[in-house]
């Protein structure tokens, strides 16, 4: 093909892509006003798994699934509270059996109505071992989960006894135990309904999903972009104010930021560390600095004899007091984090400021005293294991410096090549002393930060922490009759952590992001996601 022809083809190609990207909307210009037909682009990364709701637990696939699907409920982006979507109501009298009533009029993107059986079938499929869904443990509360997903070996059944379809708009969920806040979990994308067409070809469906969410799937150019458009018949409370979202894949945040600055990308996740210092200057009032429901901790290997003693809690409290959180978050982390004062992140339902008390306040004298009282750090040396690929080196070094200067304890970082290696070392119990750990909310409720991390044998309890008192308070909280009572119950459980100190709360993450001049009304929720449907594209 001669060069000239080639260029012309290329131009045509580029134009058609641009047309799809803008939802083919006719452009009516006018400053400040918005055009609900126009799409905006968002920084994303290539999903790691096929797009199946129960298989998306990393951000790349997660945020796309969230927009293509809508479950019984979700979380209001403005305050993090549970908000009903497909469910008209979720009733319970005993916190164990939940009666779900669906709203009518909802359809999948292919036009078929969403019925109660679409939920039950999807959940059963997602929970069954043979289907290899990464999020299958989300269904573990439901009665009969162990039949479809035994601890080892193949499943004996493919349906959970706890799920019963009553009619097209009613079904019941029976749990193995009482969990008062179970509806909060239902906002997670794994609990989305699936159309009947899914079960015939789950793999093919994972490349071309049909959901019931605010946006419908248009195309997936692998490693390049996923195009979605607003679903006209969407019945949810968050009707899109834009024409769709184009998820552009970026390997580096630097490239995305460069595109954002030159208006080729509309909204991004998080500015790269290199831009933290000046992104507010670069973007002016288009810069975003919002709280997130995530916390960074330093955990301890309580399963080791060195750290097991009852007195050692004092040592851990002392180490916590030796960390100058204010200075480190301001200097090393350039204001991208906020010092923590509890084990639950700020803004989460049930967050109680200062649950950590004085132990989270910098005080070198008391720190030294506590460490001596507790019998000192073993060999007077602390190692903090972390993954070197996540930008943690700087703050780990700063924390160590702070500890060294305040207490004289020798502290060093122990970098592992990458996240996988660090995780393997932590879960394999081959590390010594302390390690970086963190928690990002699955749902904005304090139980998620406490039960899932600190309960004896909890899946993410990497510390080997086991406190009968904590477990008992957590159980009581689960049995409570209302979410509110359960929240208070978990606050008492959190108080136990202040005594035992299995982990040092360091700081809460923040969303440091921004948007292009082409969009407005961009707000981020505590998951670090924009309120997708609220974004307005300027006309």
């Amino acid at each position: 093909m001669p060069a000239a022809t080639r260029t012309r083809w290329a131009v045509i190609g580029a134009t058609s892509v641009a047309l799809v990207a803008t939802g083919c909307g006719s452009s009516g210009s006018g400053g400040g006003s918005s055009d609900a037909g126009k799409s905006f682009s968002y920084q994303s990364s290539e999903p790691q798994n096929p797009l199946q709701p129960a298989n998306a637990n990393e951000v790349g696939g997660g945020r796309i699934s969230q927009n293509l699907f809508k479950g019984l409920a979700d979380y209001d982006p403005s305050n993090g509270k549970l908000r009903m979507q497909m469910a008209d109501k979720i009733d319970t009298t005993d916190s164990q059996t939940f009666n779900v009533t669906l709203k009518s009029g909802w359809t999948f993107h292919d036009g078929t109505p969403v019925k109660a059986k679409n939920f039950v079938d999807a959940w059963n499929w997602g929970a069954t071992t043979a289907n290899n869904q990464i999020n299958s443990s989300w269904f573990a509360d439901i009665q009969g989960y162990s039949d479809v997903h035994p601890k080892s070996g193949a499943a004996t059944k493919t349906t959970m006894s706890g799920l019963t379809v009553v009619d097209d708009t009613h079904f019941t969920i029976k749990l193995t135990n009482r969990v008062s806040y179970f509806p909060y979990k239902l906002g997670y994308v794994a609990f989305s309904p699936l159309p009947d067409g899914f079960f015939a070809d789950p793999t093919g469906y994972g490349q071309k999903p049909v959901g019931n969410g605010p946006y419908q799937f248009v195309s997936w150019e692998h490693n390049s972009q996923i195009v979605t458009k607003a679903f006209a018949n969407y019945q949810g409370v968050d009707k899109p104010k834009n024409g769709g979202v184009v998820f552009k894949m970026y390997t580096t945040a630097e490239a995305a930021y460069a595109d954002l600055q030159s208006n080729n990308l509309d909204v991004m996740d998080q500015v790269p560390p290199s831009a933290l210092a000046n992104y507010k200057n670069d973007l002016g009032d288009r810069a975003i600095d919002a709280p997130q429901g995530s916390i960074q901790n330093i955990g301890f290997t309580l399963y080791q004899a060195d750290w097991a003693g009852a007195n050692k809690a004092k040592v851990r409290q002392g180490l916590s007091m030796a960390i100058d959180r204010d200075t480190i978050t301001k200097t090393v982390l350039q204001g991208s984090r906020k010092p923590a004062s509890a084990w639950v992140a700020e803004g989460v339902e049930g967050y109680k400021a200062d649950a950590c008390g004085d132990s989270c306040k910098f005080d070198a004298t008391k720190a030294k005293q506590l460490i001596t009282d507790g019998g000192g750090v073993p060999n007077n040396k602390l190692t903090i294991t972390y993954n070197a690929d996540g930008g943690h080196k700087e703050w780990v070094d700063a924390v160590c410096n702070s500890i060294r200067q305040a207490t004289g304890v020798d502290c060093v970082g122990d970098p592992k090549t990458d996240f996988k290696t660090a995780r393997a070392a932590i879960t394999g119990h081959t590390i010594n002393g302390a390690f970086r750990t963190g928690w990002q909310q699955d749902y904005p409720l304090n139980a998620n930060f406490l039960a899932d991390v600190y309960r004896t044998g909890a899946a993410s309890n990497d510390f080997g922490y086991s406190s009968p008192q904590f477990d008992q308070l957590a159980n009581t909280a689960d049995q409570a009759d209302s979410v509110q009572a359960s929240v208070t119950g978990y606050q008492s459980a959190e108080a136990v952590l202040a005594q035992d100190f299995p982990a040092i709360p360091l700081w809460y993450y923040r969303t440091n992001s921004g948007y292009s001049t082409k969009v407005q009304n961009v707000k981020f929720d505590s998951f670090g996601n924009p309120a997708w449907t609220d974004v307005e594209v300027k006309g």
Binding site: R6, A14, S137, S262, N264, T417
Partner: protein, 308 residues
């Protein structure tokens, strides 16, 4: 000639197996379990992990995995990535993009590199010569990623002449800037190599003879000087085409091009064995073919070189 080509092609077979084995061993013996890592900060569910490991053949001893993999590759089945896409499909998407980028870079390398080299070689000691020497030295001493970010900041963010990243890799005009950045280092080498080679040959007897015969200057430079001076340059260009294909990781990252470099970077991060081994295997083949072509080109440039 024929037997020479045959011998070279046969040589590729052990190189191919050796290279794949080495890459396979390196990727698959890296620490960390890629399946467990799919669960992120959450503890992995043992039943699902066991299932997935089985599905991706990771529960077998390494030598069995290799035999299984090679067995499939011989039937052109490069396996499946974690996303459930066949690796051959992923490569079919990525290679054309990188080939386009590499060709754009290659084009600049030849046109600009040779022109500069010719210019400074013919007029040694002139101002132009000094300028070329200084410029190429500057380019050689700056790492590619620095050059890339500078170019991006100046031309895209400050001046707004181009988009900061490549929006559509099928649009050759968008590949000009990344192509130039990718070509910059090799371009400088080509210029310097050409300059030296021309400088040497200018003093050669056959040039003096040609001049004495009264041949026009065009013919002397075009047919005699350039042709003989190009042998070392062609050697470099040939191997460099392979390097451009594989070495685009940095450039593709800066300009967000969905090519081989990007795929490879992501696959290595996720320890996605089949993709890494597949891509690198193809890159090895590109290298082998490129060096074969170079060797064959010698005969064209200098008829005295014969592969009997």
């Amino acid at each position: 000639m024929g037997s020479y080509v045959l011998r070279r092609v046969l040589q590729m077979i052990p190189v191919f197996f050796g290279a794949t084995l080495l890459i396979f061993l390196m990727v698959y013996t890296l620490p960390g379990d890629p399946i467990a890592a799919m669960f992120g900060d959450k503890a992995a569910d043992p039943a699902t992990v066991a299932n997935l490991r089985h599905k991706f053949y990771l529960d077998q001893p390494l030598w069995k995995q290799y035999l299984h993999y090679m067995g499939n590759v011989l039937t052109l089945d490069f396996g499946t990535s974690f996303t459930g896409r066949p690796v051959s499909e992923i490569m079919a998407d990525a290679f054309p993009v990188t080939i386009r980028l590499a060709l754009v870079a290659f084009f600049f390398e030849i046109v600009i590199g040779l022109t500069l080299g010719l210019l400074s070689g013919l007029k040694r000691g002139s101002f132009a010569d000094t300028l070329v020497l200084v410029l190429t030295l500057v380019v050689i001493s700056i790492p590619v990623f620095v050059l890339g970010y500078i170019a991006q900041t100046i031309f895209a963010i400050d001046l707004g002449w181009v988009t900061a990243t490549v929006q559509d890799s099928k649009d050759i005009t968008q590949l000009i800037l990344p192509g130039l950045v990718l070509a910059s280092l090799s371009l400088a080498y080509v210029a310097r190599l050409t300059r030296t080679s021309i400088g040497e040959n200018l003093r050669a007897d056959y040039i003096r003879t040609a001049t004495a015969k009264g041949l026009p200057r065009r013919t002397i430079i075009g047919r005699h000087l350039l042709r003989n001076s190009l042998i070392p340059v062609v050697t470099f260009l040939g191997t460099d085409l392979g390097a451009l294909m594989g070495g685009a990781i940095v450039t593709e990252g800066i300009f967000n091009i969905a090519g081989v470099g990007n795929i490879l970077y992501r696959a290595i991060n996720q320890k996605e064995g089949p993709t890494v081994v597949g891509v690198v295997t193809v890159l090895v083949l590109v290298y082998l073919v490129a060096s074969l072509v170079v060797d064959l080109l010698y005969a064209v440039l200098d008829p005295r070189i014969r592969y009997a």
